[in-house]
């Protein structure tokens, strides 16, 4: 490699590496499956078997 080529490569690495590093910091981590959360954020009600035994109000 000639000196000019070496300098170009070094300059590219000097600029490119921090850009890649910054991109990794802001790029989202991809998930298909989520963690099974332990806690429900809303109110919890007592299971009522009489309610369950009746058809649901909702469509479907």
């Amino acid at each position: 490699m000639k000196r000019r080529g070496f300098l170009r490569l070094s300059l590219g690495a000097l600029i490119g590496d921090p850009l890649l590093w910054a991109f990794e910091k802001v790029a989202p981590v991809r998930y298909t499956e989520a963690l099974r959360a332990r806690f429900y954020p809303g109110p919890i009600r007592t299971m009522d078997h009489r309610r369950i035994s009746r058809p649901g109000y909702w469509a479907g």
């Binding site: 298909t32 099974r36 369950i52």
Partner: protein, 325 residues
């Protein structure tokens, strides 16, 4: 470590900031990890008649334990269940029901199957997946009631444990999916074909909305696609629309429109086209496509008689595809 996460479960691919959720409201970025916050907490849990799903060729006349958590990845302007599908979990009470308790609960209520329904099981995917595994292990069947707006990889993983699916085919138009549902058509068609290829029993439902998806061409396109991709023995349900949520400006679907839709779909080659959400004489009955004998007589969600014997017409012995046992 990045703090943004991208959920790749459905084609929307939501990029989620810390502490926020995706469009579905229930898949949340907690400290840089994606969490399903309704896992094991159904907001709706009932024993429904199978015919309410509607599934007409799947264990007719039986009860099915039906559950849903809040949230949905679609935002249909005509949603009938918007009070749970378009709501945050913080505002909706839920039962505590881990997947391992589900088979026992189904058996306690004399159900041979479990439905993941009301909202869309796609968004409570992990709960549906773990539940399907447990339910299958217990010798019961799993049914999805879904719009099938999901990525292929997780869909295939879930389908291994699924016996039947009622798939909402809202329209054959990309514009309809974009304007009315905030989604796209192609992934739904792909997911439906995948389900068929994996041996899942499919019954598509088309909610017929006046002026939006009720033209002759709309009915023809859908029926043609079903015949070509799922087979002419696939039951199609045409369902009556009622004004709801953000679509109160349109009238209920006239019965003539539904009749016309059924005629067109049958002319395209479908054997079984049912009309639901309205009481029309004979519109929910199953007839033998070969000898026209009445096989299953229904009224509302009730099965009045079921003459199918070992999956066949008792008169001409023609096989009637479905899950009968």
């Amino acid at each position: 470590m990045s703090v943004l996460v991208q959920c790749q479960l459905c084609p929307k691919g939501c990029v989620i900031r810390p502490g926020q959720s995706g469009e579905c409201r229930i898949r949340v970025n907690i400290d840089g990890r994606l969490a399903a916050v309704t896992y094991g907490h159904p907001c709706s849990l009932h024993v429904d008649p199978m015919e309410k799903k509607p599934m007409f060729h799947f264990l007719p006349g039986t009860g099915i334990l039906s559950l849903a958590t809040v949230g949905c990845n679609l935002h249909c302007k005509n949603c009938q269940n918007w009070e749970i599908s378009q709501e945050n979990p913080e505002n909706v009470p839920a039962d505590e029901l881990p997947p391992e308790m589900l088979p026992g609960l189904a058996k306690r209520h004399q159900c041979r199957s479990v439905a993941y329904t009301y909202t869309d099981p796609v968004v409570y995917y992990e709960y549906a997946l773990d539940s399907c595994v447990r339910v299958r292990e217990a010798g019961l069947k799993n049914v999805l009631v879904t719009a099938a707006y999901i990525s292929q990889e997780p869909w295939k993983k879930l389908l291994q444990f699924v016996d039947g699916a009622k798939i909402d085919m809202k329209s054959m138009s990309e514009d309809f999916y974009r304007d009315v549902c905030g989604a796209t058509l192609r992934p739904v068609l792909d997911a439906t074909v995948t389900a068929k290829s994996m041996g899942v029993w499919i019954e598509p439902t088309n909610l017929v909305i006046p002026t939006l998806n009720d033209s002759d061409d709309d009915f023809r396109k859908m029926a043609k696609w079903i015949v070509e991709n799922l087979g002419r023995e696939t039951p199609l349900h045409l369902s009556r629309f009622f004004p709801n949520y953000q679509m109160k400006n349109l009238p209920p679907t006239p019965s003539e429109t539904l009749d016309r839709g059924r005629d067109i779909a049958m002319a395209e080659g479908l054997y079984h086209v049912y009309i639901g959400n309205i009481s029309l004489p004979g519109a929910e009955n199953t007839y033998c496509p070969s000898c026209k004998k009445l096989l299953v007589e229904r009224r509302g969600y009730e099965v009045l008689q079921n003459n199918i014997t070992a999956g066949k017409c008792p008169a001409c012995n023609k096989e009637i595809p479905g899950v009968w046992q």
